[in-house]
Symmetry: D2
Subunit: 297 residues, 4 copies
């Protein structure tokens, strides 16, 4: 069992640490708001006062944070992860951030004799709870092989996709399908509903059909009842689609469904749904179809 | 165990009869080409010389045929199913045909004291083999309840959606997602591939992600190797999208991803891929992205 | 000067007859509601009691009616145009109707020794008043050459495009641009307006720019004030886009902007604007952008 | 007649100076490559060695350059326009550059007691030659009123749209229509061509129809013969569409036709047409329709 570090103990990160502890690993954790980590301390996690202290105490340090800005905040400066890295240590970021930021931090880690991996996940807290979270991982293959057994304590599948930054790219290539699938699902539900099939019945049929991806299964029910808190909101999803569209332009890949879906996210935002789960794209389409669904006020 | 009839013993129908026989049912079958049914006769299926004879011999008669034209061919005329129906018998069509045709035949069946259900399926022969085929069923609820146990011998889920014709509508609402998901999947694969991730690796990551619907899992590998025979070809998929778009206009439901995907199917057809599995939409998009993938000549 | 006949004396037809009379032609007219033609009778037009009587009295008979159904009503039966045609006579339909209907009537006309042309127009009553109406004409070239001088009394340009039915096809290929241009214009106006430029100022700039087609110039002002009566309503425009999309599928031509615009017309209809001028697509887009423009109640 | 300055004497700028000289103005010019300005010197234009020297010699200095980077190059530093501005002088930039860059330079100009206008144009060299170029102008109204008579020596229409930067925004809102109109025009041409109408005939009909904007009239013929040199290439047009899409997201304006057209420009670029006039979108669509048009090799 390894000495592990973990920075960012929110909805996703906290659950991951729980799994690592359950698997018998020793974990040193840090979170901006310590009180949110109390349940993990009760389970045996050790506390460190800074990201640097986490890295100093650990052979492998993980992070799971909100965005590129937060990544810079925890890695740079005297209290940052980089200051705590030294020869042989490994740093694994699981967040969805820009490939360019990843590449820069990976170089900084190597300058200290350490190695970095970018290892974003596919799935939500629901997926994680079901034990089905998958990882796409980028960086040196030998580093990947060292970290892989630990990732498998969190979720069943980790795939090495290439050099640093490519996992971030792969994540973007994955996420575009989530938004598009949700919009196509909404088109189907509205067609059925306006035909005279109750919405819940139509949803049940789709959940049992071959179009029912895990995402459709956990997010689809939101068309019947929107969650109080977004799993992934319109702003966050649009951020990912913009990364996809930017990549598409740089790499000369036309993205017809992504482009159309992105405009629907803009529509959702214009209707005031920026911070709702992106399943609210259903409500936006319903209003275009002349009805209000009742799932948002 | 019931006396069942089955008309249309092709790739889907044949496998269904096998399951019904395995479940202990007695089945009388008919197929245009008798030789294709020999394996079922070897398994104990009885033969009838006409659709009418099937219906006469059976309490419940099923059919699984290609399209609305074939449906008319097996139901009408002196040798048709309708001529063999009488009070208390049930006729269940599982094909994907027009709601209007369903409604007309249902009325003709009722005029003879019989009942009809439309019960299209979600899934392919692969889904059926995995024991995961689902049914959407329309017609009288009491009739549905009589037939449901038999459908569950074929696949694990049958959902009653309403009056005759609505299952056909629900099928269209389901199928639009298949085409859209395949196109979004292709966008992701091409983004990853042009980023530098091998196509097979990108596909593996997506198959393990939350966007991997059963359809993506069985059709996605076609971007690595197209099948010799289409599971569902571009022409057939476009026929379903046209039904969706027509419903959208009649019911005032905008269908942004369906409309865009339909144009890509037109593109695929214009490139000569009309009779390829609709996964070939990947090749069409790849050519728009300036590359040939090598999966079709 | 020729003996001309004219069937359908509405907004467009009536103005056309006025121009023919002004040019010195003798015109015999017929309209379902005679009272609407009084002003033309006052100007010297003769009256006939049936379409057949018009054709009998005229060397060249024109018609300008609503749709394919109306075309059949005026051409078929004992009182129809066809019954009045004989060797050497010419029948010219200027309506926007299906190419198939045109081809059938053209054959019927030829069977009587007569010739037919399809000659749909580009433009509205406003274009006609400005003396800028153009014609696309199909049928035998020699017939076209006989009729051309008369068409030029109505508008400045008549182009022969090929065999019967092709002018109807060309009309569809023209009209798709009208809807698409109106939507792109609306996108520009809304971008400008939300940037802080007054809508009327933005419109003025666009009217003076190189994107200002004649259609944009006469329909664009509707984003400031919708007309009481539609020049061309959402239903009519969508009928034309459907013809375009159908042609696209038959001929394997992908139509990305047409498909997307068609869904916006569906959106407009779902919002209750089916019978508004299709400029109301601006209001539909504005609502998707979270604002009400005030141009419709 | 005023003492004017002009920086950037290329295809557009050179023609503008010619018009200003023809109108009797005195003009001092600067161009990175002096030899290209010889014809204007022959017509009486004075030469200055730096942008600063132009501004020092002139009451009103104009610039017409490629992009934001070039704008910074001519305005900043010891030899830049700003160094030559002083109380009462006016600087007018006519390029298509970012609104943010405009606002910053306008502030720098005001700090020196001068005023700035952004005054981008609608139209190409062809439009300019026809005397039909229009301006959208932003900045203080009183400054606009001083400059307006001079702009009218170049083109017939100048519209004041608001504060600095808004003319740049208006330009973007205008240009999106150019790309969308060209794609819709291509859809119409291909529908007609595949119906059996010769392409040149179809184009002639469209040029005489109400969809024929000035842009369609001068760029449309490129579908018959592509120009040796692009009027405005795919890269430049896509740069403008990206500005539009970015504004759309910031202002919450869905842009369905812009988004779809942008993906077609990506397609054109992927096919190797990045530096062709954006009319080449016709060829890209034609290839999607399974044909090669012969207008590009």
């Amino acid at each position: 069992m390894a000495d592990l570090g973990f920075i960012g103990l929110g909805v996703m990160g906290g659950r991951m640490v729980k799994r690592l502890l359950d698997a018998g690993h020793s974990v040193t954790g840090y979170n901006r708001t310590k009180s949110k980590a109390q349940w993990l301390l009760d389970l045996g996690m050790r506390w460190a006062e800074t990201p640097r202290a986490v890295a100093e105490a650990s052979a492998i340090t993980f992070s799971m944070i909100a965005d590129t800005k937060a990544l810079n905040a925890i890695t740079q400066g005297v209290d940052g992860v980089l200051a705590g890295l030294s020869t042989g240590k490994i740093y694994v970021d699981m967040s969805t951030v820009s490939p360019a930021a990843i590449r820069e931090i990976a170089q900084q880690a190597e300058a200290k004799g350490a190695q970095m991996l970018d290892a974003p996940v596919s799935g939500s807290a629901i997926t994680l709870d079901e034990g089905k979270l998958s990882f796409m991982v980028a960086g040196k293959r030998e580093t990947f092989e060292k970290v892989q057994p630990i990732l498998l304590a969190i979720g069943p599948k980790a795939t090495h996709v290439g050099a640093n930054g490519l996992a971030a790219a792969m994540k973007v290539a994955t996420n575009l399908s989530l938004a598009v699938q949700m919009l196509a699902f909404s088109e189907g539900i509205l067609l059925a509903e306006k035909s005279g099939i109750p919405r819940a019945t139509a949803a049940e049929v789709l959940f049992n059909s071959v179009m029912a991806s895990p995402m459709v299964k956990y997010r689809g029910p939101f068309v019947l009842k929107m969650p109080d808190e977004a799993l992934f909101d319109v702003n966050m999803m649009q951020k990912d689609l913009l990364l996809a569209l930017e990549m598409g332009r740089q790499l000369d890949v036309p993205l017809p469904t992504t482009a159309v879906t992105n405009e629907m996210l803009t529509t959702a935002r214009a209707m005031g749904f920026a911070e709702k789960d992106f399943a609210v794209i259903f409500e936006a389409l319903a209003r275009m179809a002349g009805i209000k669904t009742g799932v948002v006020e």
